[in-house]
């Protein structure tokens, strides 16, 4: 057996994932503040520059920020891939990434092409460095781990998302021209959502759901077929999107299969978990799966009324991905604080439940759930948008405060 690259190490320095995790609530906050300024009509137009800027503030600033931080932490444990050891490189990626997200969003929001160009280049460099740093080891990793294939799949699609994103952005700036802007943008969105994000979430779920909640494993059938279902979804979408737009329902049917299979398997596992304790993270998982199924329902309702496509995206991005990632962080952050403190040899340290106050997490959980519901309703009753944005401001600050209190526990025991 080739064991090169296999690592039983403890993962990277705590500051590596934490800098990404702690930045996500700040972008959540910026997204909430931006919501105050965007008009209701603009929000419904997905190709409007302001909408694209707003969406990327969330998908890059919150979702990708958390996912990259999590990858730095999880790749060593789940795949034996040693990453994150070069602190200078991680810092460079982190800083360039932030510059990229801020410039890109401001450039789109205020429609300043030079700022958009700076953002585009910075984002490209940040993702390129990140992908270059991890790809070789990720693709050479031993494939027997439960999450490995989907993680490889996700990284492979991220390369394509990156180059498509660069191309689309250069078109928007006016440096290059294309007649296929809308089709390419659709492909960029589908690959980003299903190839990069959903695949990674599912792959990580295969390991962390049984690990965190002591549940039965996801069935081998689900684990083995999921990468192929997602692959077929994306490829069939690309083909129909360019050549047979009327047949887009084929890829939608295949995607629905992936969604239903994952939702069913996850809910079944959470119900069968051997540990009776229900904490806030279990509720976050359940609400994530609820919104995932709602997003599927909305998607098909889109055939009746177009507004439902927007609602489907909101349910998927904020309800499903947003909930799930926050829930995961409430498990990972306390564990890493304890883990790194215990590694010092001091056993007189707070346990996982003593790192972030449970009540505070519940308050933040409900704030976020209310935000998602109100945000969905706001597309019908527009006056509610301001209330939704206000609640997200409080939720984001609460999330940040909870994380910082956890960090404070770590620092107080380290000093």
């Amino acid at each position: 057996m080739n064991t090169s690259g296999l690592s039983l190490d403890q993962g990277p320095n705590i500051s590596v994932p934490f800098r990404f995790f702690f930045t996500a609530p700040i972008f959540f906050l910026l997204f909430a503040l931006a919501l105050f300024f965007i008009t209701d009509d603009t929000l419904l137009s997905r190709f409007d520059a302001q909408t694209v800027g707003l969406v990327h503030l969330f998908t890059l600033g919150v979702l990708s920020m958390i996912m990259i931080g999590a990858l730095f932490q999880m790749l060593p444990v789940l795949m034996g891939v040693t990453v994150g050891g070069n602190k200078n490189l991680v810092t460079a990626i982190f800083i360039i990434f932030i510059i990229g997200i801020v410039s890109f969003s401001i450039g789109l929001f205020l429609q300043v092409k030079s700022t958009l160009l700076v953002g585009t280049v910075a984002l490209f460099i940040a993702f390129f460095l990140f992908l270059l740093h991890i790809s070789k080891d990720v693709f050479l990793a031993d494939r027997r781990g439960k999450s490995v294939l989907l993680m490889q799949f996700s990284i492979a699609w991220l390369w394509i998302v990156l180059f498509l994103g660069l191309y689309l952005s250069l078109v928007r700036i006016g440096i290059i021209d294309t007649v296929f802007y809308e089709q390419l943008a659709n492909v960029h969105i589908v690959i980003a959502l299903f190839g990069w994000t959903f695949a990674l979430i599912i792959g990580v779920s295969f390991t962390v759901v049984p690990m965190f909640y002591v549940t039965p494993e996801y069935t081998p059938g689900c684990r083995k077929t999921m990468p192929y279902i997602l692959f077929t979804t994306i490829v069939s979408f690309i083909v129909t999107n360019f050549f047979f737009p009327n047949l887009n329902f084929i890829s939608e049917l295949i995607a629905s299969q992936a969604v239903v299979m994952y939702a069913y398997q996850t809910i079944k596992r959470l119900k069968k978990r051997r540990r009776p304790i229900a904490d806030v993270t279990v509720s976050y998982w359940k609400s994530a799966i609820f919104f995932l199924l709602i997003s599927l329902l909305f998607w098909w309702l889109g055939y009746i009324k177009e507004l439902f496509y927007t609602l489907s995206f909101v349910s998927f991005a904020f309800g499903f991905l947003g909930s799930l990632l926050q829930g995961m962080l409430y498990k990972i952050i306390p564990f890493l604080v304890w883990f790194h403190l215990s590694a010092t040899g001091n056993f007189n340290i707070p346990n996982i439940k003593e790192v972030i106050d449970e009540e505070d997490m519940w308050v933040q959980f409900w704030l976020y759930q209310i935000f998602v519901f109100l945000f969905l309703i706001s597309f019908q009753i527009t006056t509610i948008k301001i209330i939704a944005a206000s609640i997200l401001v409080i939720s984001s600050l609460s999330l940040l405060k909870n994380f910082l209190l956890g960090w404070g526990v770590y620092k107080s025991f380290r000093s």
Binding site: V77, L78, R275, W338
Partner: protein
Amino acid sequence: MMGQDISIYLTEDHRHCDMLLAQAEELVVDKKFDSAVKAISEYIDAMMNHLNREEDILFPIFEERTGSTSGPTEVMRMEHEQIRALILQLTDAIKANDERKFFGLSETLMIYIQQHNSKEEQMLYMMADQHLADISAQLVAKMKDI
């Protein structure tokens, strides 16, 4: 299954220990502290036996065959020490009927053990299956005696 005796046996042992800890947690949820103390004691016996099976039987022969005492087995031994320390604290909490402390520690222990198990099952046991294939049946028989 031929060639996977060690990984199958020790993975099943992991699941058995997890089940016992989950049962103890359930008893504490139901506030049946006397039964919980008994269940925890059963869990500790099972867990200590598991750690001893690895440290006394598997690791020495694995280190001999691979010629490495500072590789994966060393990391696993260190993690075993942390598991033992957490189990001690857990026992104190249950004896003191301190439900909050107990759940904090059981959560910590459970997650720590799961990631520890994941490393063993996905890396160490697979390496053991390969390096110790010719004596795996005897090793499993020996481990069962503990």
